[in-house]
Symmetry: none
Subunit: 237 residues, 2 copies
């Protein structure tokens, strides 16, 4: 639904639930899959920001699945964290070779998982350690679920909030209306593409609070014929 979607791939439901619980408390949205075959369509459809992948799975091994992801252009860029049992320590090398971004050995401390995830999120996004997305005068507090423009609280609807959260997490890249619907609304709802325009409009409006205030709506740029882009840089680019 929004920025910071984490897909948890593990055949053991309790482990998935524990990870999910811990991550949700930190403001992440979680998707689950109990096998590689179940995970693949989810990755394609939902495009999670991160995959937490168990090493041992019933159908395809974690390593094979990882290799497959890293071979495909469309999934290559998605960061992956591997979960390995202690007895599989040597597999870590293989995992990292195959393109995993990090690994954690089981039994693991959930806090550790969260730390690593946040580290990776920080690396790929502008997120700070405490759940703050900051771009220019714009600040989005994921924990407090609120947005500040020039240190001043601004109000917006949930959809505008999710839209902004997604944009701030994926800056400098143009997204088509269809992609935005998938990422922000969810891939299994049907709404008109033009609806995106209206919400973009509402978001821009919300980010231009006072008459004298800074117009942060400029961060959202129209890419004619393609969609919209959030960028800290202004018109040039």
């Amino acid at each position: 639904m929004s920025f910071q979607k984490v897909l948890i791939v593990d055949d053991e439901a309790p482990i998935r639930e524990m990870i999910k619980l811990a991550l949700e408390l930190e403001g992440f949205t979680c998707l689950q899959a109990q096998s590689a075959s179940e995970a693949l369509p989810i990755i394609v459809d939902q495009r999670p920001d991160l995959v937490v992948l168990d090493w041992m799975m019933p159908d395809v091994s974690g390593l094979d699945f990882l290799r497959r992801l890293k071979r495909d252009d469309n999934t290559r860029e998605i960061p992956v964290i591997m979960l390995t049992a202690k007895t599989e320590e040597n597999s870590v090398v293989n995992g990292l070779d195959a393109g995993a971004d990090d690994y954690i050995s089981k039994p693991f401390r959930p806090r550790e998982l969260i730390s690593r995830i946040q580290a990776i999120m920080r690396r790929i996004s502008k997120m700070t350690g405490d759940g703050l997305l900051v771009v220019g005068e714009l600040c989005l507090d994921m924990k407090g679920h609120c947005v500040f423009v020039d240190d001043q609280l601004v109000t917006m609807g949930p959809t505008e909030y999710n839209l902004l959260k997604f944009f701030m997490g994926h800056p400098d890249r143009a997204y088509s209306r269809a992609q935005l619907l998938d990422q922000v609304w969810g891939s299994n709802v049907y709404v008109e593409e033009r609806t995106v325009d209206v919400h973009i409009r509402r978001l821009r409006k919300a980010l231009k609070p006072a008459a004298d205030g800074v117009d942060c709506g400029r961060f959202i740029q129209t890419v004619r014929g393609a969609g919209y882009r959030f960028s800290a840089r202004l018109a040039s680019l």
Copy 2:
């Protein structure tokens, strides 16, 4: 943010109960775990403000567990008090080396435990040493189990009190109804999510005592589509 939840990790139930009793008399909420493996998920889910850790435990030794907590960025800051038998006096050094904030040797007087906990409270938390949570005109007395608005006693039901206590201990953060049910009601009870709304209403009402009095209900903000948030700052930071 404040000391209210204390996790007691000990394999002996009578000891846990004794500590629990003493702490609850002082206004603390207690969580219990009889082993390190049981304690970990609780620490992640509930994020206690303090851990009272027995030195001798069946699965992982207290020292190992402590080291584990202190190695992780996200659990490092949680203060830990070690319980050691007299015959393990030399282990105290190890414990303090590993990052314990204090220790108490068994058999101990409950008063002693409470004093140490309060000392740690004073040292680390925002809370005053007297068990007071203060935000603006709002003051929650954990010892007296009562709430003051503008130095005037207000009455509310136990649930509203717990809700407020949780909120005041975790300000500036939005919680979903499900999370509030977990944190305030307990994670294994089933009640309707809308019930939260009603108690929020009752709490707000209780915090708006007189017609002329300050409306402290404003501290509790509705985050549409997400839940509720307690925040000292008003609309404009």
